[in-house]
Amino acid sequence: MEARPVQRSGSRDLSSNNNLARTSSIPSSSTPKPSAAEDVFMRSENNNTQLMSRPLGQTYHLLSSSNGGAVGHICSSSSSSGFSTNLHYSSMVSHEKQQHYTGNSSSNAATVQTLSNDSSWCHHGSLPGEFLDFPETHAAIQNSSHVEDGGIGAAFDDIQKRSDWHDWADHLITDEDPLLSTNWNDLLLETSSNSDSKDQKSLQIPQPQVVQQQPSPSVELRPVSTTSSNSNNGTGKARMRWTPELHEAFVEAVNSLGGSERATPKGVLKIMKVEGLTIYHVKSHLQKYRTARYRPEPSETGSPEKKLTPLEHITSLDLKGGIGITEALRLQMEVQKQLHEQLEIQRNLQLRIEEQGKYLQMMFEKQNSGLTKGTASTSDSAAKSEQEDKKTADSKELAAEETRVCEEPEAPQAKRPKTDN
């Protein structure tokens, strides 16, 4: 996809509070030109010129800067005005960013490279003050909206998503910005009035509602729900998640227009008539399609890196026991199959473990809500260690069960059940 500037039409006035937002939720996708909001943000980071000169996508660099002072400034500049508001926008802002994927791995690469080069990240040791304040307001914000498990992120996520659907349809239908700003106002009201306080949890963005369609045979739009949900910026440039069915419809449309070379994105879009599909989606997909057809590479990633001399080729084939190519391919396939199988098993186990843990945690939160558990046997809070005890005890059974499933003779022993969870 092409690079696009990040815009947030409804939030210009809120940009001044985006300080913490930028620091705390730094998107990996970058845009070459900061939008107006980002400019304001950059300028407000007046203690660090580095910040101003960097496009948003490389704000990673801020944290990875070996200049600890600069980092400190980031923190301090955001401490004054309510952290609460900042948190708001941190979810929001990161939401925005997600949408405007360039699909540009080079920008990610640049970002990552920068980061990995610097080993010192943001150390807040010099500014303990800020972060003492932080948790309290943080907790207050957590329960601003009880859309899912609560947590401000969830509320935003949810609203963003709904707005997003509208937004994609925007291209074809009407302007839904009023809807978004309404939601914003509602949320702001909710936030300020809510004063519940949960146990300190982080910026939760609990399970977003599955606006995303389940893989279905029909050619429906599958919006990508990212960490921060799809945001509305009035241009509907969100990332699409393609399916084989959708692609088939695409191919049909292309063929009906005379082939991949002659077909235009606009034409294809018109024929496909898929709600929410934008011309940008089609354009980038068409580009990929053309490349795939006219340069059918054996490997998606291209072989240049793996070009060996003929001697090395022969040697590496020999390493497979001197077998023929078809047998070598079979063997390769076999290993791949094994890996895939193991991955699926592992994934299922991980899912079950989390399911179990989540269930137990809910149960314990219910139990703990009225009671104070007495002794803490570790340095952890009493409630936590109790929870973990029980979790461990019950999950041990689960683990043991899974062990049997996996036909392993050794039963896993939960050591020091109170600590690591």
Binding site: T226, R241, T243, P298, T326, L331, V335, K358, E402
Partner: protein, 244 residues
């Protein structure tokens, strides 16, 4: 540190374009060491990582979908072109077979990519909670489960489809002629990378599942890889990855 080492190896063995798309486990781990950052900062960083995964994953998936269809068409066209001409079919199918296997491999590696990053996230969160005495792990992981990069169902489905197709496209265990080998030597390059990556991934998994000092209820049981041990042992890679 075991996982850190393993993910590093994985990244080293991975396809080049992928290398900067993995979780920055080591950096995050170092970041957690005292003083651990505030939750919002930390979560923000993790979110950014997740965005990175999502972007990469979805893009790869899109490429796979296109390639999947193209490969199907190629086979179809070849079948139509050759009709009953066995020999002609056999000559041309070699290239397609290789493509199938490599394509399959690459898709599996994407699933592996998803898994490694998920596992890394879970571990990092656990470390963070341990450091800060907080409880961000569980809710955060719940969120991760709904992220696009974690939803590998489609790719897995394609993987299985090609496993089935293999039988149709590959000869029924007939011993191959030696000349085939030399002819296909230069084109095996791509496969080698994928193959090595795959083997590395399997070894990593086995290693990681061997049990650790911090084994808990949330840890995975040891891996059952008895069959593939045979496969792995039969492959002697002269590489930095030792086969224990």
């Amino acid at each position: 540190m075991k996982f850190g080492k393993r993910i590093k190896e994985q990244i080293q063995e991975s396809l080049p374009e992928w290398r900067d798309k993995f979780l920055r486990y080591k950096e995050l781990k170092n970041l957690i060491s005292s003083p651990a950052p505030a939750e919002s900062i930390f979560v923000g960083l993790l979110n950014a990582e997740i965005d990175k995964f999502n972007a990469f994953f979805v893009e790869q998936e899109e490429d796979f979908i296109i390639h999947h269809k193209e490969l199907q068409y190629r086979i179809q066209r070849l079948v139509e072109k050759c009709g009953d001409n066995e020999e002609m079919f056999r000559l041309e199918i070699g290239e397609i077979r290789k493509d199938i296997v490599n394509f399959h491999g690459e898709m599996v590696l994407l699933v592996n990519y998803s898994n490694i990053n998920y596992t890394g996230l879970a571990k990092i969160l656990k470390k963070y909670d341990k450091r800060r005495g907080g409880g961000i792990r569980s809710p955060f992981i719940q969120k991760v489960l709904h992220q696009p990069f974690f939803k590998t169902d489609l790719v897995s489905r394609l993987v299985r489809e090609w496993e089935t197709t293999m039988d149709a496209v590959f000869p029924a265990k007939v011993a191959e002629e030696g000349y085939e080998r030399s002819a296909a030597v230069t084109s095996a390059a791509a496969g080698e990378g994928i193959f090595r990556n795959t083997v590395a991934a399997l070894l990593t998994m086995r290693e990681m599942r061997r049990g650790s000092s911090t084994y808990s209820a949330f840890s995975l049981p040891p891996l059952n890889l008895s069959d593939s041990d045979l496969v792995l042992r039969s492959v002697h890679l002269s590489s930095p990855i030792p086969i224990p």
